[in-house]
């Protein structure tokens, strides 16, 4: 233990995530220079990464709090359905957005209430609600998708998924803003401190006056809201709602959180780590194909990078 800790030991994890990012980037530049030395691939990343990146940022709070949420892909899909239905009923993107976010908030709050009030494990409850919301979406939509092309006429459309300067996807700006707000809350607000304490030792937090139950309920509620928001963005990007919206995001989102150095044991973790973790995961798929490998390699490389990174963080944590 040193009184004056260096920058590296204080931010060891964040620096390690950055090193993984640069390692992967250099590998891709060497493997496919014509793709990775052009700006277009990065704009493509910035249009796709935010959908699961926003989910991962929000999930980071849940994991730091010592919990897990597996229901967000289904809440994303259900909120997308509500957005589409409300838009077709009102022709207002603003109202549809409001209804959808409220549904996300309600779904998240429901998770929180069941977990906290009935004292049930979050993993089990959210497996249940994952099936519930996915089923509800399928039943209500009849398994059919619906167009959202008329939303393009709304002045709000470019605010969410437009292209700033004709190139920069607006959803990336949303991801950066959300990351900044969550970072601010986690590191400088009383609520963020209580999230860390709850995840580290809920009993200690409770006896020291932290309202652990309220913290956990709010954590699941914000996950519901951000899942709904990601569902709206994903639907608007392709101007179409499809009933299986969100289903491919579960593992990618979790991978971004763990690759970013937030351990499943709770109590620690960073928004910066998850932000970089999402970018690395987003880069991998395109990068592997650009390097001339088939799509079959994607999952193998995902697995390899995640296991190696998490093992590396764990070893570093023990040596600290």
């Amino acid at each position: 233990m040193k009184k004056e800790q260096g920058i590296f030991s204080q931010h060891q994890l964040q620096i390690s995530v950055l090193l993984v990012f640069f390692g992967v980037l250099v590998l891709f530049i060497i493997g496919s220079p014509q793709t990775f030395l052009s700006g277009n691939i990065y704009y493509a990343f910035m249009s796709n990464i935010p959908f699961f990146g926003i989910l991962a940022l929000s999930l980071t709070l849940v994991v730091i709090c010592g919990d897990m949420d597996l229901s967000f892909p289904s809440i994303m899909g259900f909120a997308g359905y509500i957005f589409t239905t409300a838009f077709h009923a009102t022709q207002s993107v603003g109202l549809a957005l409001l209804f959808s976010l409220l549904v996300g908030l309600g779904a998240g709050l429901m998770n929180g209430l069941i977990i906290v009030k009935l004292r049930l494990p979050s993993l089990v409850v959210t497996i249940g609600t994952q099936f519930f919301w996915a089923g509800a979406t399928q039943v209500l939509s009849g398994g059919l998708g619906k167009t959202l092309v008329p939303t393009k006429a709304s002045s709000l459309y470019p605010l969410f998924v437009g292209r700033i300067g004709g190139k920069l996807p607006a959803q990336m700006i949303w991801m950066v803003v959300i990351a900044f707000v969550l970072w601010l809350v986690l590191n400088h607000h009383r609520f963020g401190a209580h999230v860390y304490f709850t995840g580290d030792n809920p009993h200690s937090a409770r006896v020291m006056g932290v309202n652990v139950d309220r913290v956990r309920m709010l954590i699941f509620t914000q996950m519901g809201v951000f899942a709904a928001f990601a569902g709206i963005l994903a639907s608007l990007e392709v101007v179409y709602f499809w009933p299986t919206l969100g289903q491919g995001y579960l593992l990618k989102t979790m991978a971004a959180v763990f690759l970013g150095g937030t351990p499943v044991t709770g109590g620690v973790g960073t928004i910066f780590g998850t932000f970089m973790g999402a970018i690395i995961i987003g880069m991998l798929e395109a990068g592997i194909i650009a390097m001339g490998m088939t799509g079959f390699w994607t999952q193998l490389v995902y697995g390899l990078i995640i296991v190696v990174s998490v093992a590396m963080y764990s070893i570093m944590g023990r040596r600290k």
Partner: protein
């Protein structure tokens, strides 16, 4: 025994049952100003229930609690803390993966505006606390040291300093020396002496009379939900206290003079278990 006007806390005829099990039976318990009371008793004696009643965790079935002569109504954990009752729990109630300064202000953060924490002030205050209350002058420790890197005695120091910092009038220490080495135990005992020096009161709950005897002003023995003995330290030697504890353990009261550690073959073994 302190006069009523000098009593900080008075628990009067406290009864508490869990289901059919009567855990506290008409317990009368007092703590004076600037007094350290050692609360001794075997497992199941009711020590924890009595303390949890005093800290608002449990509500008594019968009986009253008075704080500085005023009867407490609608008593709760929050109210206990507001009054100035702090507990240093056996498990210390620390978040090990976090820094000392974060732990000192856990649940009572210094807020600037809109719920945002004044981290600068918390760190400065912690620096003062470490020097003045904990006596940590070692260059190996800083406010940014994570609690998991501290020794058991240092962790206990953080927990006690936290209680002292918030100007508690009464600090309850639940088994504060359990699992500590000799030097760490010594450090904790000097923290308890500090509590007394600073004019505060403390309840020291323990199994180990050798730890509590040197720092306590008064010893209260609890057995099976009843107060079975109460002694000013000036009235009883350590050896006499050991004998009395042995009697209580064997017979449940202090009246049977026949059973003493020296007259029983197994007594030595029992006494060994009380040794630090």
């Amino acid at each position: 025994m302190a006069e009523p006007s000098e009593v900080l806390v008075k628990m009067s005829n406290i009864c508490k049952s869990f289901g059919h099990v009567e855990v506290l039976r008409n317990v009368n318990f007092e703590i004076g100003y600037n007094e350290v009371v050692g609360l001794l008793g075997d497992n199941g004696a009711g020590k924890s229930t009595l303390i949890k009643t005093l800290t608002g965790v449990h509500h008594p079935d019968r009986g009253e609690i008075y704080w500085k002569g005023i009867k407490l109504e609608d008593y709760s954990v929050a109210k206990a803390r507001d009054l100035g009752i702090e507990t240093v729990f056996q498990e210390r109630a620390l978040c090990e993966q976090h820094t000392i300064w974060r732990n000192i202000f856990m649940g009572r953060e210094i807020i600037k505006v809109g719920g945002f924490i004044d981290t600068q002030k918390e760190r400065e205050e912690t620096e003062k606390i470490m020097k003045e209350l904990m006596g940590f002058t070692s260059s190996a420790l800083s406010v940014d040291s994570e609690v998991r890197d501290l020794s058991g005695g240092e962790k206990q120091g953080v927990a006690i300093a936290r209680a002292l910092h918030f100007q508690a009038d009464l600090i309850i220490l639940d088994e504060p020396t359990t699992g500590l080495s000799l030097s760490e135990t010594q450090k904790v005992l000097s923290f308890v002496e500090d509590i007394k020096r600073k004019g505060k009161s403390a309840i020291f709950i323990t199994h180990n009379i050798y730890h509590v005897y040197p720092v306590a002003d008064r010893i209260v023995i609890l057995d099976r939900g009843r107060v079975v003995g109460e002694f000013e330290k000036s009235e009883i030697s350590l050896e006499e206290l050991v004998n009395k504890l042995y009697l209580v353990a064997q017979t449940g009261s202090l009246n049977n003079q026949g059973a003493t550690p020296s007259s029983s073959g197994s007594g030595k073994d029992d006494l060994q278990s009380l040794m630090p």
